[in-house]
């Protein structure tokens, strides 16, 4: 069977289906003896109690940070754990049907969830997810197993098939026998996709109900370049794909030969080439592909991957390692960019009507100043160890960048008082990803030491199109003169103030945009490491002067219909 989905991460994999969902939810029915009823019920009560304790500990961590009204979301969880319909009925089932607690609980849970799904109201329908999330936690306590995927148990040559995969799941794949992954939902510029490309894991998404159809152990081919998935391929297809895989790998190797050569245009203009990373382990890959710095270190992955908030020392150690490994090159660390689609277990956020335009990024950091201050202190301390720069995400106006600088000054004074060394001249840049900031780039460039354009968000805010929504994908138009004008204005404004401009969105790694970005005078391209050779090759064969003519014409609309 051939399925056509959306290409998420290039490369070809040939392997066998490993179904993530089924592995996580296997509940067996087991009959129990009358004298086992009591112990079974107390085992269930203990699991519920452990879950409650777990929720309370998570709640405590954020209670101080969020207002009391918002923390009532935790009360909701706790009340569900005392809910008669869920708890008492489960106990009744154990007693009356003489079945094990796992089976009774999952029966009752599914009953409630299906009730929720019948509701027409979207808000209430969504609550089914809260209930099932809570159920998952109770179940993991019951079964006394780690809630997380048991990565070590996955057989070699597996292709992970799931409804959806989180960026942190993706980070585990490289070292755990996983050749590729296939998901029902997801978008080309989602963070899962970004991590998959960085780790060179082929992936295809948008396959609707594939995770339900796919049989565990079934032979599968994933073509991450064309977005094709083939199950039970015939011999000829396998041979063709093996050949294709070889061709792809050879091509990658030939591009890698470019790694030590500088990114200089045919007429002698040098461009900066840097890598975007999420985890310290990616540094080796970044250097191997020829990155001359880290243009974007997404620090929030440290937070996403942990249940507890990493403390100042833990963060300091991580930042220090990255800086030391990259010496003499610069490392630009972006402060926590949480909220919206990137939720951490440690920083649980209340649901919002419109999260993409809500409390996220630097806005969230201002709301939870203790967490932000801790990170700033860790960054300042690590600035001693290498060429560290700080960048602030989602700046919307000048006063935000001023506010950040005030917080940084406070942290510096604290450290000074404590006698802790740091680099007093550490640079602070602003991410330009909100149209308001792009239009006021000249004002922001006065306060910030450098600018970096985050195109993923900038595009979706400019065109009012959700990048994850397949139905409006066509409006999310990267090659629109409106966007190019915005980018050109940002670059020109920064240059007038003698500040440099990088671009760290997906666009930097898209060969279709290299020429126009060169032509608009961009200083640095920052992208996932694997894209570096490809982009470098284009820069090395393009004339900067010609690129400028091309950009001028493009911006004037000469190529638009």
């Amino acid at each position: 069977m051939v399925y056509k989905g959306m290409a998420l991460s290039p490369g070809i994999a040939i392997g066998r289906v490993y179904s993530l969902k089924r592995a996580a939810h296997k509940v067996h029915r087991r009959s129990i003896l009358p004298n086992e009823v009591k112990p079974e019920i107390s085992r269930f009560r203990k699991a519920v109690d452990d879950t409650r304790k777990e929720m309370i500990s998570v709640e405590d961590k954020v209670k101080k940070a969020l207002s009391s009204k918002k923390s009532s979301i935790f009360e909701g969880y706790r009340l569900f754990l005392e809910d008669k319909m869920l708890i008492n009925e489960t106990e009744t089932l154990i007693k009356d049907q003489r079945v094990n607690a796992e089976f009774a609980f999952s029966m009752q849970l599914n009953k409630i969830i299906s009730e929720f799904k019948k509701i027409k109201n979207d808000y209430l329908k969504e609550r089914a997810r809260d209930v099932s999330e809570l159920g998952r936690r109770v179940m993991s306590h019951l079964m006394d197993m780690d809630d997380k995927v048991l990565w070590g148990d996955i057989p070699p040559d597996s292709v992970l098939v799931a409804y959806n995969i989180t960026p942190s799941d993706t980070a585990h794949m490289k070292s755990n026998n996983i050749r590729a992954f296939v998901t029902d939902i997801g978008g080309k510029t989602s963070h899962t996709a970004i991590v998959a490309r960085a780790l060179e894991i082929p992936a295809v998404t948008g396959l609707r109900d594939f995770s339900v159809i796919a049989e565990p152990g079934q032979d599968i081919i994933v073509d991450g370049e064309n977005g094709i998935v083939i199950t039970d391929p015939d011999e000829e297809t396998v041979i063709n794909y093996k050949r294709e895989r070889k061709r792809y790998q050879d091509e990658q190797h030939s591009l890698q030969k470019l790694m030590d050569l500088p990114a200089v245009s045919t007429d002698g203009v040098t461009f900066g080439i840097e890598a975007n990373i999420e985890i310290a382990e990616e540094i080796a890959t970044a250097l191997a592909y020829g990155a001359e710095g880290i243009g974007l270190y997404r620090s929030e992955y440290m937070f996403i991957n942990s249940e507890a908030l990493p403390g100042e020392d833990e963060q300091y150690a991580q930042y220090k390692t990255v800086c030391e490994k990259m010496l003499p090159y610069p490392v630009i660390i972006r402060t926590i960019d949480l909220g919206a689609d990137k939720l951490s277990d440690a920083v649980k956020l209340p649901p919002e009507q419109n999260p993409m335009m809500g409390l996220r990024s630097i806005r969230l950091c201002f709301k939870i100043p203790e967490i932000f201050k801790t990170q700033i202190r860790a960054l300042l301390r690590a600035s001693e160890a290498g060429n560290l720069k700080i960048i602030i995400p989602m700046i919307t106006n000048v006063s935000e960048i001023k506010k950040v600088k005030t917080i940084i000054s406070e942290a510096k004074r604290e450290l000074e008082k404590e006698g802790v060394p740091f680099n007093g001249r550490v640079e602070v840049g602003a991410m330009i990803e909100v149209p308001a900031a792009a239009v006021a780039a000249d004002l922001i460039a006065e306060e910030a030491d450098f600018l970096s354009i985050g195109t993923n968000d900038l595009i979706q805010y400019t065109f009012a199109a959700d990048r994850m929504n397949e139905n409006v994908d066509y409006v999310y138009e990267q090659g629109n003169p409106a966007l190019m004008r915005l980018i050109k204005f940002v670059i020109d404004s920064a240059h007038k103030k003698q500040k440099s401009v990088a671009l760290c969105g997906e666009m930097a790694s898209d060969p279709a945009f290299t020429k126009i970005l060169m032509g608009m005078g961009l200083d640095t391209f920052s992208m996932s490491a694997i894209a570096i050779p490809k982009i470098k090759k284009i820069i090395r064969t393009t004339s900067a002067r010609e690129a400028q003519d091309f950009a001028d014409k493009f911006i004037a609309g000469s190529f638009s219909q």
Partner: protein, 74 residues
């Protein structure tokens, strides 16, 4: 109905001996299960029935009335 509203009502009914039942489209749920309440799928503008039974039913009814007037503390 918002989770918060379900909790507010649930907390209120805990303070009284009487039992509070809420119904929609012929289905009725006791208020000691906020989950059950949510599964009724009550949306703005829906007609619902409220039934209170027990020794201090009058007091609970008054308190519930007050809560409705205050728009459930929203």
């Amino acid at each position: 109905m918002h989770v918060r509203t379900a909790l507010t009502i649930s907390k209120l009914s805990e303070k009284f001996e009487s039992k509070l039942f809420i119904g929609k489209d012929g289905e009725e749920i006791s208020f000691d299960s906020p989950l059950g309440l949510l599964t009724l799928g009550i949306s703005k503008g829906d007609e619902i029935s409220v039934r209170i039974q027990g020794a201090d039913s009058l007091e609970l009814a008054r308190a519930f009335d007050k809560l409705v007037e205050e728009n459930f503390g929203e």
